[in-house]
């Protein structure tokens, strides 16, 4: 029996075009879905790593706060009466007075300086304020702007 030869199916040109565009569309959808999936994975990964960074920074902040509290406690301990008494007796070799003198002083108390005088300009804090160019420090960007014309 002779092989049946089937004539080749002839696909009209329009149908072939539609098939090609269908495959393209399918390919585009696949690429889109893959892209979205990859984007989601990427974002999820970013969120995770950011979460770990935030966790680390939170820990750092907690450590800084704890260190602040420790320093406050240290300041309090250093200014405690027990320590002042110990320093006076052991380091400065002071002792309680044997005699008590009362002297009236009718002059006003000296003005309290926040810095030792050797760090202040001659004339005190007022002289520092009156010095030319003695402006308070400015942020970096403002200083840069000043260098540009029209600012």
């Amino acid at each position: 029996m002779a092989l049946l030869r089937r004539p080749a199916l002839s696909i009209p040109a329009a149908a072939a075009g539609r098939l090609r565009s269908g495959r393209l569309a399918l390919f585009a959808v696949a690429v889109l879905v893959t892209g979205v999936a990859l984007l989601q994975v990427h974002q999820f990964s970013q969120v995770t790593s950011t979460g770990y960074q935030v966790d680390g920074l939170t820990q750092v902040r907690a450590e800084k706060q704890a260190r602040n509290h420790e320093l406050e406690a240290e300041v309090a301990a250093l200014s405690s009466l027990g320590r002042v008494d110990w320093e006076a007796r052991t380091r400065l070799h002071m002792e309680p007075p044997k005699q008590r003198l009362y002297i009236d002083v009718n002059q006003p108390a000296p003005q309290r300086e926040t810095l030792p005088t050797r760090f202040l300009p001659a004339g005190g804090p007022q002289a520092a304020a009156a010095q030319p160019g003695a402006t308070p420090s400015q942020p970096f960007w403002r200083r840069v702007l000043k260098l540009l014309p029209l600012f």
Partner: protein, 577 residues
């Protein structure tokens, strides 16, 4: 052929129907779980995936009147061992070699204690310094669990221990100011929600969120001055050691405001060596407000004040002292068995004559006497805000078993029980133009809810202003009218009265037939800025004038100079100690 195809279709239909039924059941179940009963399963999932943890709020500080911290909070770590991780001996020993030196325990003991059980967590150390804990966190120690916490720190050491009190392991106040103002100091705890894995560990995936931020506890500012408190505690301990006293109390107040500048009691306890397992809880009491005693002869100032206020006597009024007063079948004699003849009211106080006090109480009468006693605040709490404050005990005419002998003995401070704070508050009326002030120890509370300040409170005008001046003058005569009085302070006019009575309080809180020696005084007499009560307990008989008055003499110059009170006399005054 057609029949075969028909059977095939039937079988296909049956299979399809079965699949459809199964799919329908699954769909129904999905609809039920995700729509109908979604809330329940969502909650179960939340509960499974998310955990919550309470964040303890940092505890507020306790400050003295000038803002110096007496108690503050620092961060710390509690060191736990996960027992299952230490079931392997090699791992346990390796971890213990790292942990034990940091927490100051022997490694062998640590391993033995942690491996006593196979499950759970073992608390190896509570309150490890934050720096040490942070270093330990990075160490290779299997089974180590560090939980961040806080602990109390006392910059002034053991100063004012009975007044400040302490907190327990759960950081709640147990005694003293820590307990009385626990709500303000404790703040409001917060809550943190986090996602956790299948075994409950937190996942750092950014899902952690704070449900409620913790609100830091407020600070408490006391009226106590740390310098005066330190002076008072040092002097009290020195005097107890010198005289062999069982204990004592010293209170220093501003008589015009009622602000307590210092309050010290012994025996007490050390905040730095606190042992919560100590059975002798009596040491934790603030005896200045919890313990009552018979005031003794200091009460004669109140009796004299009543009689003067009622116009019955003046400081110069006299009576005949025969050395004894007879009330019913009872005979009351002077403490020194003296017979003084014609004696003024002022001399009654100077010589502390019981017969004179009995005479004055007879003039006043029981009705008025007990009215004045109550008006002076004896027998009721002072409402100072300190916990555990005792009422005191006054038995008046309407009480059962009262007899006229009670009136007589009450007149010189026996048969009446009052706390040291009640006594100094009552007598302070004579230093404040007759006004009784409410003693207070908390100046300001800076709580999360609101900031509150406390001002002096005038309880009542107990006696007239001129009566108060008269009694103050007589008390001045007690000190300066007797040469060599041990309470005299060179350069200042001092007013005061000694007291000696029975009933000393032991360290365990029981009272035995000992002796209480006290002195109450204020200075300067004309414009009082400082008032002090000194009370010492003894097993044997000791006089207030001998052991308590010298304490006033030693402390007053330093306190008055610190307060900037000018001494009397010329511009340059020299006093030798």
């Amino acid at each position: 052929m057609l029949r075969q195809r028909g059977r095939m279709y039937a079988r296909l239909l049956i299979v399809a129907a079965l699949f459809a039924a199964a799919g329908g059941a699954i769909t129904a179940r999905v609809v039920y779980v995700q729509l109908v009963n979604s809330a329940h399963y969502k909650a179960a999932a939340q509960n499974e995936h998310f955990g919550q943890q309470e964040i303890r709020a940092p505890r507020g500080a306790i400050l003295d009147r000038n803002g110096y911290p007496l108690a503050t909070t620092v961060d710390a770590y509690d060191v736990y061992i996960n027992r299952p991780d230490w079931q392997n001996v090699a791992d346990a020993e390796r971890a213990a070699a790292v942990i034990a030196p940091v927490i100051g325990q022997p490694a062998v003991g640590l391993v033995r204690e942690a491996r006593k059980e196979a499950k759970g967590l073992y608390l190896a150390y509570a309150g490890l310094d934050f720096d040490k804990g942070a270093a330990l966190r990075n160490a290779d120690a299997p089974g180590l669990r560090l939980v961040q916490t806080t602990k109390r720190f006392y910059p002034e050491g053991d100063l004012a221990s009975t007044l400040l009190g302490f907190v327990g392991r759960d950081h709640a106040g147990l005694t003293g100011i820590e307990a009385d103002y626990d709500r303000e100091l404790g703040g409001v705890p917060g809550t943190i929600y986090f996602e956790r894995d299948s075994i409950g560990n937190q996942i750092a995936i950014g899902s952690e969120r704070i449900g409620q931020k913790p609100k830091q506890g407020g600070d408490i500012r006391l009226t106590i001055d740390r310098y005066i408190q330190r002076l008072v505690e040092g002097e009290l301990e020195a005097q107890i050691a010198k005289t062999g006293a069982l204990g004592g109390t010293i209170i220093v107040i501003e008589p015009k405001t009622g602000a307590v500048l210092a309050m010290a009691s012994r025996p007490g306890f050390k905040l730095s060596q606190l042992n919560l397992n100590d059975a002798n809880v009596a040491l934790f009491r603030n005896r200045a407000v919890t313990d009552v005693y018979e005031p003794g002869s200091v009460f004669k100032t109140l009796t004299a004040g009543m009689a003067i206020d009622l116009g019955l006597v003046t400081p110069g009024t006299t009576y005949n002292d025969t050395g004894a007063a007879y009330i019913g079948n009872a005979t009351i004699r002077n403490w020194d068995y003296s017979v003084n003849g014609t004696t003024t009211v002022t001399q009654v106080l100077q010589r502390s004559l019981n017969t004179g006090a009995v005479w004055m109480s007879g003039l006043v009468g029981p009705e008025k006497f007990y009215q004045y006693v109550r008006a002076f605040g004896i027998g009721t709490t002072t409402a100072s805000g300190l916990g555990g404050e005792a009422d005191g005990l006054v038995r008046s005419k309407n009480d059962p078993n009262w007899t006229p002998v009670d009136l007589a003995t009450n007149s010189f401070g026996q048969g009446i029980a009052a706390t040291p704070l009640q006594v100094i508050a009552a007598i302070s009326a004579f230093a404040n133009e007759g006004k009784l002030m409410r003693p207070y120890i908390v100046q300001e509370v800076d709580a999360p809810a609101a900031k509150r300040s406390f001002s002096p409170v005038v309880v009542r005008q107990v006696v007239k202003e001129e009566t108060a001046h008269a009694v103050a003058d007589m008390m001045n005569q007690v000190v300066e009218g007797i040469p060599g009085h041990l309470a005299a302070v060179p350069g200042y006019h001092v007013a005061g009265k000694t007291g000696t009575t029975t009933g000393a309080t032991l360290a365990d809180g029981t009272v035995h037939d000992g002796n209480v020696a006290s002195f109450v005084g204020f200075a300067p007499a004309g414009d009082p800025q400082m008032m002090m009560l000194v009370k010492l307990d003894f097993r044997e008989d000791r006089l207030g004038g001998q052991v308590s008055a010298p304490v006033f003499h030693d402390l007053a110059p330093s306190i008055l100079a610190y307060l900037g009170v000018r001494p009397n006399g010329p511009q340059l005054v020299t006093t030798g100690n």
